[in-house]
């Protein structure tokens, strides 16, 4: 009691500090991002294991070196015109997208700012990077996690796609070009 009275000031101050630290380190990183679930429950695992698909089968380079990214619906429809399994998810997917021929509004984990120029061709064909080096174990994942979108800037908050420093470090280590317009446009 008297002790509290004596150090009332300091205690309150420290309490403030504690609250701030908790909010800043625990709450902020969570609140900062909005979690957007994927429209379709897709399992890379099943497709690689059961269907024996390889990354390049769906995610490929075009002839002009541009990255095709996530395949369009017809790629899925190729096999999923009719249900292949018995899962409810698949049925919902077919009824929701394949039958009405609606493109799937995938949430991109790695959405880059408009002014960023990233060449998959250079990183795959020249630097020989593995997909996982940037995309982690996405290829083996059984379910697609939600995409994290920064509430203010609207950018991807994926753990695998850190900010510019990460790119720069790697480029520095490998002695790759590091000028602004090497990666910006």
């Amino acid at each position: 009691m008297t002790l509290f009275q004596k150090h009332r000031g300091q205690i309150l101050f420290l309490a403030g500090v504690a609250v701030a630290l908790a909010a800043g380190w625990r709450a902020f990183p969570v609140l900062r991002f909005q979690r957007v679930p994927q429209p379709v429950a897709f399992s890379h695992k099943i497709h690689t294991d059961k269907a024996g698909a390889k990354c390049e089968d769906c995610h490929s380079l075009r002839d002009d070196g541009a990255w095709a990214g996530i395949p369009s619906l017809d790629k899925c429809a190729g096999c999923h015109a009719q249900p292949m399994g018995t899962s409810v998810e698949e049925k919902r997917f077919i009824d929701g997208y394949v039958t009405p021929n609606r493109e799937i509004p995938w949430q991109v984990y790695s959405r880059q700012p408009e002014n960023v120029y990233f060449s998959h061709a250079a990183h795959i064909k020249l630097a020989h990077l593995e997909c996982r080096q940037c995309h982690g174990a996405q290829g083996e994942s059984d379910a697609l996690g939600p995409a994290r979108v920064d509430r203010i800037s609207g950018y991807s908050g994926s753990p695998h796609f850190q900010d510019m420093d990460a790119c720069e470090d790697c480029h520095r280590q490998r002695g790759a070009a590091n000028s602004c317009l090497a990666c910006h446009k």
Binding site: F13, V17, A23, R62, P113, S153
Partner: protein, 588 residues
């Protein structure tokens, strides 16, 4: 004791201090910075697959090949087709951004009857009725901006069915009549006001040959061409024909006019030489130069069908006038057209993509597809020595309610065929004729027509058919008279109009908003309202450089911005797109 204000302050102090050691401030700073990088409301490009597609430019008669870089199906950049025989892989500034036209304001997007939206059927019915209601002596006319197309044929057929149908074209729409210009072999060009270096024929073809011809520009205006020509002969406005005659006499060794002698000498030194532009005397001049039917001169081609010049149609004779306007063409002077119509309730039908041209006066507006919005055609490229034809496949999806002019006329004729059918027939005819070769854009190769299995398909992929040349010596000098315009009026200045108004090159009537780079965002080209005068002339009229002023001619008065240029002929006013006429200028 309770929680005092001071406690609150201490606590807040603590939190503030604490926050500095968390990611909050830096995280927020970074986010705001990133936010400022893609500022809200800034349009973002599409990101589809990049494809290349080919078509042919129909904005002007040059018929340049177009290579379109498309993002998905949307063209995002236009460029020339390398090796294209008519355009040599080059586009003009307007052509480079032709894919923007579809997004311009003042577009006609639905059929209008007396300003009110109507269904295309009812518009057609009304027009048919008007045609049926024509009196015996009253004509039905179609104004065809680009004769020689398959569409023109549709018009002719339709008009032939009518008791009094006139297929007419704007003045000077068939320069050099049946002749092409053998630019590749000519060594001197004596140009009477033709904008040789500023949009004449096709820029690519002219500039590719620029290094091997002498250019003499006879023109009162200090035009682009005049300023760049090897010799500029600034004759008085309207005296071009006089000078041509003088040159003829000089060539025959009869005159002593120093300028004419000088010019004649240059022409004789650089043969073959040709004279272009201007009036009858210029035709004579070409005869004397022997430039007709000879290499390096005017060579005749097959496909020519003369069309009535609208100016030569008797005044007050047309009851129903259908005017086709192209996406890039200049609108005709309205007073000229009005004179041709019958005084009592004439019917004017505008087949046009624009609302701001003749559509303003039209009873019926039939919205035509914009450039690149529908399958179109390009006839023989301007100045080509052989007949030619190419398709202009669509790259953009057109709004629903548009109707191609030829398609509308087919509808009037109750012909079941569509415009594409007509184009198909034209291509089939070419195939049947078996003459000439086809230059295909994607591979830049020329193939004999006879060796092509599916001509229609390869034409749709972007191609230019060129006829075989006519055997030499099949041309008569007299034919060139066809194309010679009337001589300009000689203009003695008088008290009321002390100056002479002459044409300076005008901005295109419609164009991509990016054309502002040339006309407003840089001094490269003078805007439409610039009146350029010699400083002395200006000062005599009590003007200063940059003044706002009023130019008055017999025809009209215009508000202008005065520009002083010591290069301009004293006593004249140079203004965008004006006919030669006496004029005065005073400070506004």
């Amino acid at each position: 004791m309770g929680f005092t204000r001071r406690d609150l302050l201490t606590f807040t102090g603590g939190t503030t201090a604490g926050l500095l050691f968390t990611p909050v401030p830096w995280g927020l700073l970074r986010d705001t910075a990133v936010l400022s990088e893609n500022w809200p409301g800034i349009p973002q490009p599409l990101h589809g697959e990049i494809r290349t597609r080919y078509t042919t430019c129909t904005l002007c008669p040059a018929g340049c090949g177009v290579r379109a870089r498309c993002d998905g199906d949307q063209p995002v950049g236009l460029a020339g087709v390398p090796g294209h025989p008519a355009s040599r892989g080059v586009l003009c500034p307007a052509g480079l951004v032709g894919h923007h036209l579809a997004f311009c304001r003042d577009r006609a997007t639905e059929p209008l009857a007396h300003g009110k939206p109507v269904a295309i059927e009812s518009a057609a019915a009304a027009v048919s009725a008007a045609i049926a209601a024509c009196g015996a002596r009253e004509a039905v006319a179609i104004l065809d901006p680009r004769p020689g197309r398959a569409a023109s044929l549709v018009y002719r057929r339709f008009l032939a069915e009518l008791p009094k149908g006139v297929h007419c074209a704007p003045p000077d729409s068939q320069p050099n009549g049946p002749f092409g210009i053998d630019l590749e072999n000519t060594r001197a060009i004596l140009s009477f006001g033709a904008p040789v270096l500023d949009g004449w024929l096709s820029p690519g073809r002219v500039l590719a040959n620029r290094s091997h011809f002498q250019l003499i520009q006879v023109e009162p205006a200090y035009s682009r061409t005049a300023s760049l020509a090897d010799l500029w002969v600034p004759v008085l406005p309207g005296s071009e024909d006089e000078f041509a005659t003088a040159v003829v006499r000089a060539l025959q060794g009869e005159t002593t006019d120093a300028h004419a002698m000088d010019v004649a000498r240059t022409l004789l030194r650089n043969k073959p030489a040709i004279a272009v532009g201007g009036g009858p005397a210029v035709a004579r001049l070409n005869a004397v130069l022997g430039s007709i039917g000879r290499p390096g001169g005017f060579l005749p081609r097959r496909d020519f069908t003369p069309v009535t010049d609208i100016a030569s149609v008797p005044d007050g004779s047309i009851r129903v006038l259908l005017i086709e306007e192209t996406a890039g063409g200049d609108p005709l002077p309205w007073d000229l057209l009005r004179r041709k119509l019958v005084p009592q309730d004439p019917v004017l039908v505008a087949l046009t993509p624009w609302l701001d041209g003749c559509a303003q006066h039209a009873d019926y507006v039939i919205p035509a597809p914009m450039y690149l919005e529908s399958l179109d055609e390009a006839p023989t490229p301007a100045g080509s020595t052989v007949a030619g034809f190419s398709l202009s496949p669509a790259l953009l999806t057109a709004p629903p309610k548009l109707a191609a002019p030829a398609g509308f006329v087919l509808r009037l004729a109750h012909d079941s065929a569509t415009y594409p059918d007509i184009l198909k027939r034209r291509v089939a005819a070419i195939k049947k004729g078996g003459r000439g070769a086809v230059f295909t854009y994607p591979d830049a190769k020329s193939t004999r027509v006879s060796d092509i299995a599916d001509l229609w398909k390869s034409m749709l992929g972007g191609a230019l058919w060129l006829d075989d040349p006519l055997p030499a010596g099949t041309a008569r000098g007299a034919d060139l008279q066809v194309c010679a315009g009337p001589p300009g009026p000689a203009l003695p200045p008088n008290r009321e109009y002390p100056l002479v108004l002459i044409a300076a090159s005008a901005p295109p009537p419609h164009g991509s908003p990016l054309m502002s780079k040339l006309y407003r965002e840089s001094g490269l080209r003078r805007p439409a309202n610039a009146a350029t005068v010699h400083p002395k002339t200006g000062r005599d009229q009590g003007l200063a450089d940059g003044d706002r002023a009023i130019v008055t001619s017999r025809a009209a008065t215009f508000p202008v911005q005065v520009v002083f240029d010591p290069a301009v002929m004293p006593g004249v006013i140079e203004m965008a797109g004006q006919a030669v006429s006496p004029a005065s200028i005073r400070r506004a």
